[in-house]
Amino acid sequence: MYKLLLCVRYLRTRFIALASIISVMLGVATMIVVNSVMSGFGTEMRSRIHGILSDVVVETNSLDGVHDVDRWMKIIREVGGDDIDSLAAMVEIYGMMTYDYRGQPVMKTVQLIGIDPRTKSDVSPVAGLFETSLDSYQQIKEQGQVVREPLRSAGEPAGWELTADAAEARRHRIELEQRFIEQREWERKRSQPESEALDHNPSALFEPINAKTAKDSDKASPPDFSHDEEPAVAVDPAAPQRARLYVGAGLVEYVYTDEETGKAKVMRIIRPGEDVMISTISAGRPEPVRFHATVVDVFKSGMSEYDSNLVFCNLEELQKVRGMIDPQTKDGAVTSIQIKLKNYDRASEIVQRLSTALPPGLFSVRTWEQKQGPLLAAIEIEKAILNVLLFLIITVAGFGILAIFYMIVVEKTRDIGILKALGATSRGVMTIFLSYGLALGIVGSGVGVAIGLLFVTYIDNIEKGLSKLTGRKIFDETIYYFPKIPTDVSATMVIWVALSAVMIAVLASVLPARRAARLHPVEALRYE
């Protein structure tokens, strides 16, 4: 009883103890905040990586792909059994995207992915993958003001059709080009009246400046499949190309800082409705192939690696261009089959089963985590190191407690002597200081948890306030792509942090408590 009473009294009358409570509190709060934000980023990143990749990916080892997709899918379904949710076939190939920017050709290496948006959405772990990442589904805001409403309604499934806006932009662009060409023609006619008629291939429309070079290289390149069945006369010059693309935002935009306002702005070079040129290689004997494609939409997953690399193309067109369609059976080859599982926990088992069931050498089967192993491992290691460092903060707080407690024990030496003279046991005296430490730890980590959780909850408001205070953006959305700071509070993490803080407080009080317990009563009573 006296233990509790004295413990409470000492806590209430020693303001120095407040210092150790505060240090424990701060340590706990920072650990919670940092851990939550770190794992928020991690989870966000994982979900973005995972968003593009499906749970399990079966890839062919050659770029030629395999024919008879249905047969392979059937095998996969049989092997996977009930665990398979849905499947989607894709063609993945490296390529190059070319477009003009202010008269200069811009070239980007890209990863070209032929998909059917609907089946791709089916295997994606994110509900409505394209609906959340395509530009035309988003509302655009600038400084809190809506500057553009979504162009497609949320319920509309992603497809390869142009939006009215994009079609309008395309028509407008073509008119401009047309006028430009007419003018050039007129000029040429004036200087060279007997020149041959300029061919009206609409594909040349968008390269007015280097149209000539494009035409020249066209001759050297192998047959351009995109124009195979094209009618000789273009019906509507504004009709989009047959190849349609979703282009990663990083490929067609750049971020710059407005000189006047100092605000970061996004400049888009290619808008939906405009055309770009894609080069890649054909299947079979690798030969370069080139084709024009219309950008239908701009894609923004939030993973810069994807957004500056990926170009989604309509599957049939890519198969056709690459010569992957069997002339007899009209069956297109694919290079990968994406699998969505009903329960991701069983992924490694499914991978095992598929690896043995599918012909070796032809396919490789991996989970998305295996595909992105090094990146995920890096995030984990980063988090672990940060945790160790932060834990050191709490340890420092622990040493603070040790020093302060030692002081209090010295200060209370006579009281300890009195208690022992009245019959208190060494253990009893020790308990006073241990429970003192326990109380400090509990109060400190309790308040720390509360502060940490509050901080995490209001992190965006805090960020705004701090940005205003320092006049500098702390969390720049344009860098991270996140509209908000992602946080992920895990109960186990909070409990672990709180418990280890309490543990450290108790451990730190062991030494002073033992000293108190070992005091000789008479010596202690004589202590001045």
């Binding site: 006296y2 233990k3 000492y10 009358t13 009245l422 019959g423």
Partner: protein, 254 residues
């Protein structure tokens, strides 16, 4: 006049307990302190038998070792040589835990410098021995009873109006009385009082003495009291002097 004062209680004691048994005793008690390489002897063979219900006074020069003797007899310190006996059984070599318990149950200490706990109120200070004796649960169950006992004792020493005061808000005499109340609340068998009247004026000193005598007569409490005031000491049963580490009998009223 003082003689009458002592004779009265003594006679009564003699009538009730013709030959009271030895309560607390010491055999060839020696205590020395080490100072560097030197051993400084303080007690050099103290032999004393204190009978049950006896009121013993010890006088002696300052630094003669009176406090040391009380500490050793009360198990606060262990003797260098010799034995301490309680009811004929040796107690100074008992395990630490048992000695802690004996200190709590058998002995009541009044220290020369009061030694109250500064963070606790007078009432809480008085309750401290009971808090130490009982577990938290049993204390909680009997807290009313204990509180009443403490208030009763505090009333006896005349501190009813200071229950909620902290020691630093009390005068020396009040602290002394609080210390006595604390020593008595746990109903000890033996009271070891180190100059309980040392800081009091003559009147208050007499009051305290009266209180101690009352306890001794009515409750049969064995009292060992260290004092400088020989006139007060004379009102006890037996008076001894500590000189050169040994006890010499000055007067024995029995």
């Amino acid at each position: 006049m003082p003689d009458l004062l002592i004779l009265e209680p003594t006679r009564r004691l003699m009538q009730t307990t013709p030959i009271a048994p030895v309560h607390l005793a010491s055999i060839a008690l020696e205590k020395s302190y080490r100072k560097g390489n030197h051993q400084i002897p303080v007690l050099r063979g103290v032999e004393i038998n204190i009978r049950r219900g006896e009121f013993l006074s010890i006088v002696g020069q300052s630094g003669s070792g009176k406090s040391t003797l009380l500490h050793v007899m009360g198990l606060l310190d262990s003797p260098s040589v010799g034995e301490v006996l309680l009811d004929g059984d040796r107690i100074d070599d008992l395990p630490q835990k048992t000695r802690d318990e004996l200190r709590n149950r058998v002995f009541g200490f009044v220290f020369q410098f009061y030694h109250l706990l500064p963070e606790l109120t007078v009432l809480e200070n008085v309750l401290a021995p009971l808090m130490i004796r009982h577990s938290m649960l049993s204390y909680w169950k009997r807290r009313r009873e204990f509180r009443l006992a403490a208030e009763e004792i505090l009333e006896k020493v005349g501190l009813t109006h200071r229950l909620k005061h902290k020691p630093n808000e009390l005068s020396g005499g009040e602290m002394q009385r609080a210390a006595i109340a604390r020593a008595l609340v746990a109903k000890p068998e033996i009271l070891l009082a180190d100059e309980p009247t040392g800081n009091l004026d003559a009147g208050t000193g007499q009051e305290i003495m009266g209180l101690l005598r009352n306890l001794n007569e009515q409750d049969g409490l064995t009292i060992v009291m260290v004092t400088h005031d020989e006139s007060l000491a004379r009102s006890s049963h037996r008076l001894v002097r500590l000189t050169e580490g040994r006890l010499e009998l000055l007067s024995d009223a029995a």
